[in-house]
């Protein structure tokens, strides 16, 4: 599917929502308004938005501890996300989940996840379910380079392959797992080979190029929807910030960070939009400002939402 200018502008907008959402997370976190851990997605926006642009509303995603971007890309409401990360009752999970567990079952968002690789079983099972329920839904699992070293990757990809399940494994290789370089703990010069070994078609993608991500995902979605089975996408990307807010970032050089930032995925799409005449600088500035207002309103929504009633602690253990 060709992307028209409206779709491209919408994709630009979503990336900006993620970026600004995360900047505000940083802000509220450092101001002590958000407890727990905050894993920022800043720098990786093109992956989530490019991938979700190829999905339908009724398709499924599974996300990670670094999940805000995926959720927003799939249509999550940022006000309820903000309330959730603050532990408020209007949050997606009534304050029970926090940043690492936001889900919106109505949007096919099967949850962020606190376990590295924790989404792989879930998303493969959702694909199995789509098949058994005879829908043409597709399931896309986001996971990091770190999860490539968890055994569950082998087990789920193997089952997806033998059963030709409509699932897309999207690895966000942001080059680090916590404070350790992926290259230090991840064997093999070609990580796509880890999927190809199961005869699962695999593509490496420039994760800073949202159109490349979109096209690769569209290819994988087409395969899945038409019954051809699973695919694997290895998106090369980078997180600008630390592993979580508070990380001192001592394991990376300033130069390395700057090199990646120089290729910023949002600016890249902006240039394309302006160069191609789809939008003017002013148009984009207007988008940025509108988004900023929206995110500020979301923060406000969160701040004003009440805490859950302590008696809710015993609710929702069982259905």
């Amino acid at each position: 599917m060709e992307l028209g200018p409206e779709k491209l502008k919408d994709m630009y907008r979503r990336m900006v929502v993620i970026r600004k959402f995360e900047e505000h997370i940083y802000d509220i976190y450092t101001r002590g308004l958000m407890p727990g851990l905050a894993h920022l997605y800043i720098g990786e926006e093109a992956v989530a938005v490019g991938a979700c642009a190829a999905l339908r509303d009724d398709d499924f995603i599974a996300s990670t501890h670094r999940g805000h971007g995926h959720l927003i890309a799939k249509g999550g409401r940022i006000d309820r996300m903000m309330a959730e990360v603050m532990g408020k009752v209007d949050g997606y999970c009534r304050g029970k989940g926090g940043s690492m567990h936001i889900a919106d079952m109505s949007l096919g968002i099967l949850g962020a996840n606190g376990i590295v690789g924790g989404g792989l079983g879930i998303i493969t099972g959702a694909a199995l379910s789509a098949r058994m329920r005879k829908t043409d839904q597709v399931a896309l699992g986001f996971f990091g380079d770190g999860a490539l070293n968890q055994g569950i990757f082998l087990e789920t990809v193997n089952m997806a392959a033998i059963w030709k399940l409509p699932v897309i494994y999207l690895c966000e290789n942001n080059q680090y797992g916590e404070y350790t370089a992926a290259s230090k703990v991840t064997a093999g010069h070609d990580l796509c080979a880890r999927a190809a070994a199961f005869d699962v078609p695999a593509r490496q993608v420039d994760g800073l190029d949202i159109l490349a991500v979109y096209e690769a995902t569209q290819w994988a979605v087409d395969r899945a929807r038409s019954g051809e089975g699973p695919s694997f996408l290895l998106c090369q990307t980078y997180r600008y910030r630390g592993h979580h807010v508070g990380d001192q970032n001592t394991y990376r050089t300033k130069e390395e960070i700057e090199q990646w930032m120089a290729r910023d995925c949002i600016r890249r799409l902006a240039s394309r939009l302006t160069a191609g005449g789809s939008a003017s600088e002013a148009d984009l500035r207007a988008v940025d400002e509108a988004v900023e207002a929206e995110v500020v309103a979301a923060v406000d929504f969160g701040l004003h939402s009440p805490m859950p009633d302590p008696r809710e602690v015993v609710e929702h253990v069982f259905a």
Partner: protein
């Protein structure tokens, strides 16, 4: 009209009936299809329901449990068989961190109608990696219901309830009982979780026993009767939810209790039941609540050793008598 069925047949009937009733129900596990399961519990299901709904998996316990969680989240009602209870150690993250917590973490959005069937029990000379009874672990974790049936009828009724439940349920089947026969009532009769069953009424002492230990307790009760000790045998049937009231009432009546379970004794099921009873029936207790779990050793292979680890009639009788103290008097 009750029919005589083996435990294995009863389990199979429960699955078959639920699969007929609800197309969302399906079964997955190692060799559950063509082979009918290593314990022959699932024989015939592949023929009736086909390979999509009776799914032979690779040897990948974590992986297929994970798939089941995802399928349950999105409209299916999987039954997962873990062949030997020992292998569930490979799927603990999927069960405990994912399945049991998703509903709570999502603030009530998610529903995980997942049923896990697995085995417990020693006695087959299968040694330490094929003989464990790990049910206490699951009873400890919020978000999962735990059934541990002792008869074909209970096995069928409880499994039907588990499959219909919108929550994660685990059913432990003692592999030594699969050929045990018992009356199973006709008809669609799920047994609700949380209802203990008095397997034998009595007056002098309460034997609370689980799974195959119920039968050992019943035999011990017969022998005790010959010595004019009348033992009541109660089977909690589900550990979560636990029918505290039924257990406590019995002990209030008898004043004495012995708990028998095939999990290891220390930090196991017998501890919780003993703690509950002394909490709630303290003033009526004539002796401390006694307990008998499996020995706190890995299960040995040799027949000369293995049976030393499992509670038996003699040990039950000795433990009951000990509640009267060495002189046979109230302590």
């Amino acid at each position: 009209m009750p029919r005589k069925l083996t435990f294995a047949q009863a389990v199979r009937e429960a699955m078959a009936e639920e699969m007929r009733r609800d197309p969302a129900v399906f079964l997955m596990g190692e060799d559950v299809g063509g082979a009918g399961g290593v314990f022959k519990v699932t024989v015939g299901l592949l023929e009736e329901f086909g390979p999509e709904r009776v799914r032979d998996t690779p040897i990948a316990e974590a992986g297929f449990m994970g798939l089941a969680v995802g399928a349950a989240l999105t409209g299916m009602r999987p039954i997962v068989e873990i062949m030997f209870g020992d292998f569930i150690t490979l799927a603990m993250d999927q069960i405990v961190n994912q399945a049991c917590k998703l509903r709570y973490m999502s603030g009530g959005q998610a529903r995980v109608p997942l049923t896990i069937r697995t085995t417990l029990g020693a006695g087959r000379s299968s040694a330490a990696q094929h003989s464990q009874s790990l049910h206490a672990w699951f009873a400890h974790i919020p978000g999962i219901k735990v059934a541990i049936p002792s008869t074909p009828a209970d096995a069928k009724g409880l499994l039907k309830s588990a499959i219909r439940d919108d929550n994660v349920c685990i059913v432990f089947e003692d592999k030594m009982m699969y050929r045990l026969e018992g009356d199973v009532p006709d008809g669609d009769l799920p047994i609700p979780f949380g209802q203990a069953d008095v397997k034998r009424p009595g007056e002098d002492v309460t034997l609370i026993a689980t799974s195959s230990m119920v039968h050992v307790a019943l035999k011990a009760a017969e022998l005790l009767q010959k010595e004019n000790i009348s033992a009541e045998v109660i089977d909690p049937r589900t550990l979560v939810p636990l029918d505290r009231e039924a257990l406590v009432q019995s002990v209030r009546k008898t004043g004495r209790a012995l708990i028998i379970d095939e999990g290891h004794q220390k930090y196991g099921v017998t501890a919780e039941l003993a703690a509950v009873i002394q909490e709630e029936a303290f003033d009526d207790l004539d002796a401390p609540v006694a307990r008998l779990g499996a020995a706190d050793v890995p299960v040995p292979f040799s027949t000369a050793l293995e049976f030393e680890t499992i509670p038996n009639e003699a040990r039950i009788i000795a433990a009951v008598k000990a509640t009267w103290g060495p002189d046979g008097k109230k302590r």
